[in-house]
Symmetry: C2
Subunit: 209 residues, 2 copies
DNA sequence: GCGATTTATCACCGGCCGGTGACATGTCAA
DNA sequence: TTGACATGTCACCGGCCGGTGATAAATCGC
């Protein structure tokens, strides 16, 4: 929102520090204003330095986006991790995945903006960004799945995609307009309702065949 | 994509025709380029007339968007209508709703763009646009529901929102990048898979309690 | 035929954008 | 001390944007 440059003596002459400032500014701009406001000028203003440095140190916006993607790669995995009891059934596995994905996405405006970016302006650049999320989820599933397998005769990939898609759409809509299709998505109670419905769905599909 | 003005003798002096041209051009621009490319200059170029006319006849972009919203209000209702047998159970009702919403949204890039617009840049303007869709679905449900009611002890609004949200996210992702979370969303076979999964979900929740 | 009105076009403004070349200043090594 | 290099700033370019005032041309009422 505000464009006041963050405090930063303009003569720091510390490249590592400057790069970190630029990267942080880029994340803030993207998280706050979305991809529409994401540009060289905005990031430089936010970082309190000249935009030329973005070209010099990151090779332009593309390199900056890639840099964001790098430390974003581990985001989802970190978020999905927990010390809870490992799932004992496939239903529990999917249930944990859905609930944690909901919480993680809801808490991270940056990733929300990236997801919207992907929908609104698909490009190889942002595709690379979004790919990290997908592979992270895959790896998490592979790691915590153990020997768990979906029930026979069930199109698990389709169901899981449905569930994750529902969660993502609701989180994005909730952040943007506070409701979806008449369902309020603001208070924690609203989200508890969504969680309950999602859990019921998972169990209806996987637990009882 | 291309900016060549549509054939149109520049001296037609037919206000009704010109207004229709502008409105059509606006819909095309929005459907093709999304809200990012939606502006006075782009619409005027596409309509093959001067942008001043947009201000004169529609009062600027806002009025133009409202005009789009007007004839868009009946869109969903028209799409949802059909001569199929009326649903006999609540499960059938929701099943029809979900499947028809999927088909309608998939076939209409304009509405897809509006949905994305709502996520990326919420504003009273586009909210008015998107509200039409919501009320249209409400009215359709009220009209075809008859005496059907959801089973006891089921949070029907939450489940329905989940299902519609899943469909919407998958359609948007399919149009943008052709897949979601590893699930391909391009061929008709891909979508048949999604439909089957959605139907199974609906029945698991409503039919068998 | 003629003036008034409608319809449409054009030229222009300020502002922001991405991008680049020239320049200033601090740092460090020879 | 001096010269090369790293770091940072500034000024400028062309292009597109939304928005507006003046002007031309066709139509209509009289």
């Amino acid at each position: 929102m505000s464009d006041e440059p963050t405090a930063r003596d303009s003569r720091s002459r510390d490249r590592a520090r400057t790069e970190a400032d630029i990267l942080a500014a880029a994340r803030v701009v993207l998280a706050e204003d979305g991809f529409q406001g994401f540009g060289v000028n905005a990031v430089a203003r936010r970082a309190g330095c000249d935009k030329q440095l973005i070209y010099r140190y990151f090779g332009g916006l593309d390199g900056l986006v890639d840099a964001i993607g790098l430390d974003l790669a581990g985001w989802l995995e970190r978020e999905l991790l927990s010390e809870d009891a490992p799932p004992r059934t496939y239903a529990e596995l999917v249930e944990q995945l859905v609930l944690r994905f909901l919480a993680a996405l809801r808490a991270d405006p940056l990733v929300q903006r990236i997801a919207i970016w992907e929908l609104a302006a698909p490009s190889p650049l942002v595709a690379r960004l979004a790919a990290a999320r997908g592979t992270a989820m895959m790896r998490w599933v592979a790691k915590t799945r153990g020997a768990l397998t979906p029930p026979e005769g069930v199109d698990a990939p389709a169901f899981n995609a449905l569930l994750i898609a529902a969660v993502q759409q609701l989180v994005l809509a909730g952040a943007a307009v506070g409701s979806f299709s008449g369902l309020p998505l603001q208070s924690d109670a609203d989200w508890a309702r969504v969680q309950a419905a999602a859990v019921t769905l998972v169990r209806a599909v996987y637990s009882e065949g």
